[in-house]
Each structure stands twice: as structure tokens, then as C-alpha cells.
């Protein structure tokens, strides 16, 4: 159903917008037909909220989308429960139900194949010594992954001899880290933005320790800007602290969410997130949901060809972003490039159910 023959896995930023749109429409119309046949919930939603959609949209803007919170409230699966091999959950902010994303082996393999294609495009194919800026026990059970564990598992295919920067008491393993840094070259670091900022860097600063600078080392980080944004941390400040305190030569940020693992958006040298050939985005007006032109901030809608076991090919997020252009980024890559400004300001928690106590 997902037609991958026309994608170049070794060059994942090579389709121009017209070429990409044709493939995206073909794949997403087909995917929607599959979800419609296999998920009663999805079918009811499409019939009710997108009644004019006939599984043959000619424009990306006409594809139906689900609000990202639907994955918290509803059980959305397009495969029988026997076929589910893995369940991804969002970390879930306090008091909220986590998202539950069900994967069959086909979707999981596809996600992993695409993540590998994208990551090796940015950092090369070689496996590198890997420092994971997280807790050793974040990887939970065999088939239940939260967003952090899924990220670690995904990027770990590029690492060898992994070492965790925090022990099970959430203490920084300083001595082990120093030893590791001294023993290896070309280190790959991976971690969640918020954790690196609020825990690792602040802890090193408190202890007045800097990890030695390593040439050809690269740190990949993503997620959690929502939390960090409250502390008004600028990207430049974050990057320079990572270089100075953690010793990484290159810092690469990415944008993605547990609802669309695999087809993530890496940040280019010009400071923009880039949609690879496998995914796309639209910016919509938060009130009218009209698609907005380049340069105007609005809700980010994410499109991905990967999801098959769950109807997550088109998701309206609650993040605000600006699409700056398509195929003409200063970095030279094809694809849509954009910025994420942060979370849509949450409506006041209201309703009879919240006497605040």
C-alpha cells in the first residue's frame, strides 16, 4: 500500500514539492482508504468531519487530519490486535492521558528504515561510540516504549558501546563519562533537549566540570522544547553550552513526535527544520483551519507516509510554527523548511471538573 519504490533512501531530501506532492497524495489517499476499511473510529471521523473527502484528494490541504489529542482519548488502530508488536506512548504531561500509538512489524520496520536513512544522511553510516544523556532504565519493557525510550532505541542503531550519562539515582556518572570521553573518538551523543538542558548541563555547571572537547563528535537532540521554552533558552545559548560543557563539535536538533516516529525533521545549518521526502507539513490558522501562506505563524499539521497500523498519516498538532518556504532553503536541500515557535497557549483548564484543590 505504501509505495516506496520512488523514494531514494540514500538521498532523502531530493524530491521537489511537485514530485513529493504527487507521491504523498497517492500514498496518503491509499493509506486513508486502508484506515477507513480497518478503523471504525477513523471512518466515523472522516464521514462526519470531512464528508466531501472521497479518498482521492488532489491537494494536500484536502486530506483529512486528526487532532493530535485523538491518540490520547481514542483507541486508534488499523490492524487487528494480534498484529500489534509494539506500543509507543507519549511521556504525557502531568494529569494527562498519554498517547498510545500501536505498531505492527511492517510500520515499525518502515519507521526504522526511514530514521536510518535520515540519520545516516546527516551523520554518516558508521556506528559511533554513543553517549545517551538519559537514565539507564528509560528503556522499559520489550514492547512498551515511551517516547524517550523509542527515541533512544531509534538512534541507538548508530551507536556502539552505549553509556548512559545518568545512573538509576538520576546522578551524573561523571567519572565514567570522563573515562569514556578519553577512550573514544567520533562520539555520537543523543538525548532529549529538556533533559540535557535542565539536568545534564546544569548539573555539570553546579559541579564546575566540563567534559573534554571531542573533534568530529555530534550530538543529536530533540523534543521537549515545549518545556524549555518556558525558561526562554535561545538556540544559540543551548548550542554553545553543549559545545562548551559537553564537548560536542556538532549539534543537530530535530522536531518530531511519538505519533509520527521515523519521518522526523532535522534542523539544517541555516537553523530551519526540514521536511524529508517522506513527510510534509502545512500551517493552518488556529481558528479557521485555513492553510496559511509562507511566513505566517499557525498550527503545524504533519503529514507522513509511514503510518499504516494506526491512522496517523495526517495530524494537526498543537504546536505553532512558521513555514518559510519550499525547496529553496539557503542550505541547498529540497523540501519545506520551517521553525517551531512553541506550544499553542493552552486554553484555561475549565469545566465543572476542576475546582482547583
Amino acid at each position: 500500500m505504501v509505495d516506496l519504490d520512488l523514494y531514494k533512501f540514500e538521498a532523502p531530501y531530493s524530491l521537489n514539492f511537485e514530485e513529493k506532492t504527487v507521491l504523498m497524495l497517492k500514498n496518503l489517499n491509499a493509506a486513508n482508504g486502508f484506515h477507513n476499511d480497518n478503523s471504525e473510529e477513523f471512518s466515523n471521523i472522516v464521514k462526519s468531519l470531512f464528508p466531501s473527502y472521497c479518498f482521492s484528494a488532489f491537494d494536500l490541504a484536502d486530506l483529512p487530519f486528526l487532532p493530535v489529542r485523538a491518540f490520547k482519548n481514542l483507541h486508534l488502530a488499523s490492524v487487528p490486535s494480534n498484529d500489534i508488536s509494539k506500543i509507543l506512548t507519549s511521556s504525557g504531561t502531568s494529569g494527562q492521558k498519554p498517547s498510545r500509538i500501536v505498531l505492527d512489524s511492517f510500520t515499525a520496520q518502515l519507521q526504522s528504515k526511514v530514521l536510518t536513512s535520515l540519520t545516516s544522511y546527516w551523520i554518516g553510516k558508521a556506528r559511533r561510540p554513543m553517549v545517551i544523556f538519559d537514565f539507564a532504565n528509560t528503556r522499559a519493557s520489550r514492547n512498551q516504549f515511551n517516547a524517550r525510550a523509542a527515541g533512544i532505541a531509534g538512534f541507538s542503531t548508530f551507536g556502539r558501546k552505549p553509556i548512559y550519562a545518568l545512573d538509576s539515582n538520576l546522578e551524573l556518572t561523571v567519572n565514567e563519562l570522563l573515562e569514556y570521553y578519553n577512550g573514544y573518538q567520533n562520539i555520537l551523543g543523543f538525548g532529549f533537549t529538556f533533559l540535557i538542558w535542565s539536568k545534564i548541563i546544569s548539573e555539570l555547571r553546579r559541579k564546575n566540570i566540563r567534559l573534554p572537547f571531542k573533534e568530529n563528535s555530534v550530538l543529536i537532540h530533540g523534543g521537549g522544547w515545549k518545556k524549555i521554552e518556558a525558561e526562554k533558552v535561545e538556540k544559540e545559548e543551548f548550542d554553545s553550552d553543549v559545545r562548551a560543557m559537553l564537548g560536542f563539535d556538532r549539534v543537530i536538533n530535530y522536531y518530531g513526535m511519538v505519533e509520527q516516529v521515523g519521518s522526523v525533521y532535522f534542523e539544517c545549518e541555516k537553523g530551519f527544520f526540514h521536511a524529508p521526502d517522506f513527510s510534509e507539513l502545512l500551517i493552518r490558522d488556529p481558528l479557521t483551519h485555513d492553510v496559511l501562506p509562507f511566513g505566517q505563524p499557525g498550527l503545524i499539521q504533519l503529514l507522513s507516509v509511514l503510518p499504516r497500523s494506526y491512522p496517523g498519516n495526517s495530524i494537526l498538532t498543537e504546536d505553532i510554527g512558521i513555514l518559510h518556504g519550499r525547496d529553496n532553503c539557503g542550505c541547498g536541500r529540497k523540501g519545506s523548511f520551517f521553525q517551531v515557535l512553541g506550544r499553542q497557549t493552552q486554553a484555561e483548564p475549565r469545566g465543572c471538573s476542576d475546582v482547583v484543590l
Binding site: N44, L49, P51, N73, S353, V355
Partner: protein, 411 residues
């Protein structure tokens, strides 16, 4: 001080809850049930709101002020002076009110009825610092400053704020003779973990669900002006407080034949969809989330998804109505269903259902409707346009009676 709370009235500072509780319970209560001083204070509050033109931008404050203007309170007094003279009404003592965060004015209604009963009051308001709460507190200070003989009220009203501290709730609860909890099943259960004194009582207002009943042929017979007037009234009922009050209508039962209900419902829907509301009357993201939740289980015909009101239509069934109760979180959307008669609604109602606002029902229809209900459903039946009007009889409780003691005298 871990036990300190923010006091908004009668002072304006942090204070330990132990001190507050001591002060409130030690103060001499000289005000009796329906005392003239209390009535005068409440009337002065109402006048102060009407006097200040800046409050006109807050319709909920105007509703509050008209509910407590002296004429209305006198009517209330009349009602209770008819009470049998072998029954003496007296205060309970200290009342602890826990206000909801969805309807900012509700604590004042609760407080004023309790004042009329002669109680001393500690009120916990939401920490969200809403504009409306700030204005209300300002008026309390103003009234006392303007007419110093109202100084006694400081012994009767203590408004506080604090966050998620069960120890504080414990302390106040164990001092109170009456606890009044406004809103939220979860909050009620949580607050009930704090024990009351053995002699104390509690009135709690859990989550409720409300709907409207419209007679289709009466609607279709209306002339243009009357139709748009009815629509305006309904819109006020549904959109105020973001459609999140317990009595905000979320479901409409259209009564009549298939042809009548279809054409009445279509006319009404297209009118409310084209009404203009300012943007912050609802949150589009929240609306989309809750509608998606609902339609995932119940396929509907949806119009005006992004309009001032969104209308959903589907054939009536019991599971769907239950699912609506669970999914609806406000933000101006409505489910329309049709039924042939008001006596057919019983099987769709539950104990959650509070207000039925109506149009085109006769006194007899209402009486037949209430007689047809089996079990506990429906505590209020009011004309469309009055769904949010506060009444001292609420959720099946006569609040003035519930907030006071009835002393029986036999000769």
C-alpha cells in the same frame, strides 16, 4: 509558613490558616437568619455594581447584581417568612465554600445565601486570579469603605486562595459546620478525604449535564423577529462561560413529526451558525478535540465545524447521548436529535441531567414530562434564555434551607 494562604478579603496578605480559622470561629455572630444588616449589605453590593459602568462588559456580574438587588432579596424574604411559625430558622455557624474555576461568580451566590442564613464564611476561590474575581473583591472593599457601618461584614466573609494543599482543606473542614463544594466529581471526592466535624453537613454540586427541549411546530410558527429573539436567548444560555456551566445546554431535543423537526432544526442551526461571537468565546482546538472524540463513536452530520456554533445531527439513541455526556467539554457545539413527544425522553435521561430549558411547551407538557421521568433526573425546568439564571433552589436543594438549621418548637 507552609499552612499560609493568600487572603483576598477582609485583608490582603498571606496569613496562616490556623490563625484565620481561630479568628473566624471566635468572632461574635450577632446576625440572625435574614437579618436587616445582611440584606442591606447585599443590596449595597448590588448597587455598587450597577453604579460602576465599567462592569457592563461583564454580563455575569450584571446578572449577579440583578439577582441580589433589594427587590429580589425582599421577594426571597417574603417566601421564607411564610415558613410555619413552629419552625425557627437559625445559622449553622461557619460555612466553608469551595468555588469552581469555571464560573467565577458562583461563590458570591453561595456566600450571599449563606450570609442571609447568618453564617460566617470562609471561601476558597480559584487561584487563577480571574478579572471577575478581582473586581468582586474590589467591590467588597468599596462597599465597606463607603459605608463604615458595614464593617461587621469582615467577621462574616474571608476569601482565600491556596493550591492543592489537603492539609489546609483538612484544617478548614474540621472547623466548619457546613461545607459547600461547587463543581467537579473528582474534586468532590478529593475534598471528601478531609473529614468534617461530626455535627457538620455538606452540600455538593457535582458535574451535571443540561439540554433544551423545543417544540418544532411552535418554532416554525414564530414570526421572524420572535425566531431571532429565541435564537439570541439560546445563544446566551449556550455560549456564556464557554458552554462549560452545569446548566449550559449541549443537546437539543426537537419534538414533533419527522418533517417538522427536520425543518425546525435546520432553520435554527443555520441561524446560530451565522451569529457572530468574538473569538475568545470558544477554543477551536478544544472544540475539534471533543467533537473528534464524539464522532469517532457516533457518526454524525456536522455543519459549522468552525462557525460560531457547530451543529451535529444524528438519529437518537441512548448510547450516543451517554457518549455526549462524556465527550462534551464546551466550546459551542450542539447535538440535535428528534423525538415525537416530551414523554418519550425518559429513557435517554440519567441522574447527571440537571436543567431542561424549553421552548413551546405548555404547563401540561412540562408536568407530563416530569411525571414520565423514572429515577433521579432533571432538577430544573426553565424557559430558554434562563438556563444560567441562578436560583436559590439549585440541583434539587433549597440552599437557604440547606445552609441553615431548622429549630422546631412544639407547644
Amino acid at each position: 509558613m507552609s499552612n499560609s494562604v493568600e487572603v483576598l478579603f477582609p485583608s490582603n496578605r498571606r496569613e496562616s490558616i490556623t490563625d484565620i480559622v481561630k479568628r473566624v470561629s471566635a468572632s461574635k455572630a450577632s446576625q440572625k437568619f435574614l437579618s436587616d444588616d445582611m440584606v442591606a449589605f447585599i443590596a449595597a453590593f448590588s448597587r455598587a455594581i450597577f453604579r460602576d459602568k465599567s462592569f457592563r462588559t461583564h454580563p455575569e456580574l450584571i446578572s449577579l447584581a440583578s439577582w441580589c438587588r433589594s427587590k429580589r432579596i425582599e421577594g426571597l424574604i417574603q417566601e421564607y417568612s411564610k415558613v410555619d411559625r413552629t419552625l425557627y430558622l437559625r445559622e449553622k455557624g461557619v460555612a466553608f465554600h469551595i468555588a469552581p474555576s469555571n464560573v467565577d461568580t458562583i461563590f458570591v451566590y453561595s456566600l450571599f445565601i449563606s450570609l442571609l442564613a447568618g453564617n460566617k464564611n470562609i471561601i476558597k476561590v480559584s487561584s487563577r486570579n480571574s478579572e471577575v474575581i478581582i473586581q468582586i473583591i474590589k467591590v467588597f472593599f468599596e462597599v465597606v469603605a463607603r459605608e463604615p457601618h458595614f464593617n461587621f461584614i469582615k467577621d462574616y466573609i474571608t476569601v482565600i486562595q491556596y493550591e492543592n494543599q489537603n492539609e489546609i482543606t483538612d484544617i478548614i473542614s474540621f472547623t466548619a459546620d457546613l461545607r459547600v463544594i461547587w463543581g467537579g466529581d473528582e474534586s468532590i471526592l478529593n475534598i471528601r478525604k478531609s473529614p468534617l466535624r461530626p455535627t457538620a453537613s455538606e452540600v455538593a454540586f457535582p458535574n451535571r449535564f443540561s439540554f433544551s427541549i423545543l417544540d418544532s411546530s411552535s418554532y416554525l410558527e414564530l414570526i421572524e423577529d420572535d425566531k431571532s429573539q429565541l435564537v439570541d436567548k439560546f445563544v446566551a444560555d449556550a455560549s456564556t462561560f464557554g458552554q462549560q456551566a452545569c446548566s449550559s445546554p449541549r443537546l437539543l431535543f426537537w419534538l414533533g413529526s419527522a418533517i417538522e423537526t427536520k425543518s425546525a432544526c435546520e432553520d435554527f442551526s443555520s441561524r446560530i451558525q451565522s451569529i457572530s461571537l468574538t473569538d475568545d468565546f470558544f477554543d477551536m482546538t478544544e472544540r475539534l478535540v471533543s467533537i473528534t472524540n464524539f464522532v469517532a463513536r457516533n457518526e454524525c452530520e456536522v455543519t459549522g465545524l468552525r462557525a460560531s456554533f457547530c451543529n451535529l445531527k444524528a438519529p437518537l439513541n441512548k448510547e450516543m447521548i451517554q457518549s455526549l455526556r462524556e465527550c462534551h467539554t464546551g466550546n459551542n457545539w450542539l447535538l440535535h436529535v428528534s423525538a415525537s413527544s416530551v414523554t418519550d425522553l425518559n429513557e435517554y435521561l440519567t441522574h447527571k441531567d440537571q436543567t431542561a430549558s424549553y421552548f413551546g411547551l405548555s404547563r401540561e407538557d412540562i408536568s407530563n414530562f416530569l411525571d414520565s421521568i423514572e429515577g433521579r433526573a432533571i432538577d430544573r425546568v426553565v424557559p430558554i434564555g434562563s438556563a444560567l439564571n441562578f436560583d436559590h433552589v439549585w440541583d434539587g436543594h433549597d440552599l437557604l434551607m440547606s445552609f441553615s438549621r431548622q429549630v422546631r418548637v412544639q407547644r
